[in-house]
């Protein structure tokens, strides 16, 4: 699993990247009450706003970690946004994407690096 400075995680699965937010990010957000997902098939560029998360406190954007195409979204989150708090690094993935430029993965941290990053 790789981690971004935007507190997202990426996990490779069947040649695609599964993307979600970290346990640390979910704790910071507080209780998540609404998730708006992108449409499957959307082509995105790194740092595009692709997901909106609303917690009891505020709205936050999830950015596309890399260039690519959204191939699948976790529609269960729309009905049960609280999953993001319950299991952010497991069940509550946001979307899967096909990466167009593998080299963008080089910037990301491993678990130990991310733990150090969040201090």
């Amino acid at each position: 699993m790789k981690f971004t400075e935007e507190h997202e995680w990426l996990r490779e699965e069947d040649g695609e990247m599964v993307v979600g937010i970290t346990i640390h990010a979910a704790e910071q957000l507080g209780d998540v009450v609404f998730v708006e997902l992108p449409e499957e098939g959307t082509t995105v560029s790194k740092d595009d706003e692709v997901v909106v998360i609303e917690s009891v406190k505020a709205a936050s954007d999830i950015l596309a970690p890399v260039d690519g195409e959204i191939t699948e979204v976790n529609s269960a989150l729309a009905d049960n946004p609280g999953m993001v708090n319950d299991d952010p690094q497991g069940e509550a993935w946001f979307f899967k994407m096909k990466i167009s430029d593998e080299s963008q993965m080089a910037d990301f941290m491993d678990e130990a690096g991310y733990q150090k990053f969040i201090g």
């Binding site: 507080g30 609404f34 009891v56």
Partner: protein
């Protein structure tokens, strides 16, 4: 954080693991480890303890109750004179334009008036009262007492176990109680839509009392986050957001708080700041009005969301002044201002969220049935 004031319960909040945030010049707990959602639901199910010591506590005294009450009536459009001893009312200071300068609770304690005002307005409120009422009336800001609220259906059992006299207090009664040797001023009121008490306690004994209350299985500490969602579901205004110096009581849908005796035809009609505007609007109405708003989907419509009467085009017909997720409702809730002709319950509107107009319906307030002991 250096210039933030602390309440007498600051150390306890930190010890309890609260996340502290700046609020109205104070460092206040926004949430505890339980989190906003569970704190909210706990308060509605059992009992929640809130530190509201940042709010202003003021005593007005004079030669007689009549002198105090009639003086205070010069600042508020409420029936103060008719308040019985041991009773409390909701009210607000108005300005010359009929706008609301602050909202407040006032209680009669013998011949004195005990006023509780918002933290962010308290300096201005005390100055306003001193300027308008002294020297006839003595205005004393109480700075050596904490203020806590215990709210929820379980609150009465907790308080009554310490002083049985709490049990037969009705909504908006005020009474001196002895809570385990601590003399307090209690009112059966609050700002959550639940039954409960607000308790003014000498600051030196505040922490010990709160620890004793928290010892009860039913009681959890509740932060400002859940306080906001609780009061929003209860349809109660947050000053500076849902009402302000630029909104009149008629616009703010607070007509119910202006007793008949201060309206046209009443014995003491008018005589408060902005009375001409307010009395005129009482008969003629205002151009826009505060309403409840129930978004149809799951997306919260937060403060500032513009409202439209059509799905496309057209100018805004109002905007959201408070909005978020209502944990007890299980979905988003909001309130805001709309044109008078669009303010009927059931009116279909659209709120623009992230560039998209989403359906929202004008709804009856409160969103949850109040649980007061009438």
């Amino acid at each position: 954080m250096d210039d933030l004031a602390q309440t007498p319960l600051y150390d306890l909040h930190v010890e309890l693991g609260a996340k502290m945030v700046p609020f109205a010049g104070y460092s206040m707990p926004v949430q505890y480890p339980l989190g906003v959602m569970k704190e909210h639901l706990h308060c509605r199910a059992q009992a929640g303890l809130f530190d509201v010591s940042h709010m202003g506590q003021v005593i007005l005294s004079g030669d007689s109750w009549d002198a105090v009450a009639l003086a205070f009536e010069r600042l508020v459009p409420m029936d103060v004179l008719g308040l019985e001893d041991g009773r409390q009312r909701y009210g607000f200071f108005t300005n010359d334009a009929g706008g609301i300068e602050d909202d407040l609770m006032f209680a009669r304690r013998g011949d004195d008036l005990f006023v509780v005002v918002n933290a962010a307005c308290k300096v201005a409120d005390v100055a306003r009262m001193r300027a308008a009422l002294e020297p006839e009336i003595t205005v004393t800001e109480i700075t050596d007492r904490a203020l806590i609220a215990l709210q929820g259906p379980g609150a009465v059992d907790v308080v009554a176990a310490m002083d049985g006299r709490a049990a037969d207090m009705r909504f908006m009664d005020v009474r001196d109680l002895d809570l385990g040797g601590v003399p307090v001023w209690a009112s059966r009121s609050g700002y959550t839509g639940e039954d409960g008490f607000e308790i003014s306690v000498p600051e030196a004994q505040a922490e010990a009392l709160v620890r004793k209350l928290l010892d009860h299985e039913a009681v959890e500490p509740i932060g400002l986050g859940a306080r906001d969602s609780l009061r929003l579901e209860a349809g109660l205004c947050l000053y500076g957001h849902d009402i302000s110096a630029g909104t009149t009581p008629i616009e703010g849908a607070l007509i119910w708080a202006i007793q008949k005796v201060r309206r046209d035809g009443g014995d003491r009609a008018g005589g408060f700041p902005g009375s001409a505007v307010i009395l005129e609007q009482l008969s003629g109405g205002a151009g826009h009005k505060r309403v409840g708003l129930l978004p149809e989907g799951r997306a919260p419509m937060r403060e500032g969301t513009p409202l439209y009467d059509a799905e496309t085009e057209g100018a805004p017909v109002g905007q959201v002044t408070s909005g978020g997720f209502g944990p007890s409702v299980g979905g988003p809730v909001a309130m805001g201002y709309v044109s008078q002709n669009l303010s009927d319950v059931g009116t279909s509107l659209w709120g623009e969220v992230r560039g998209k107009r989403l359906p929202v319906t004008v709804a009856k307030l409160p969103f949850v049935a109040p649980n007061f002991k009438r």
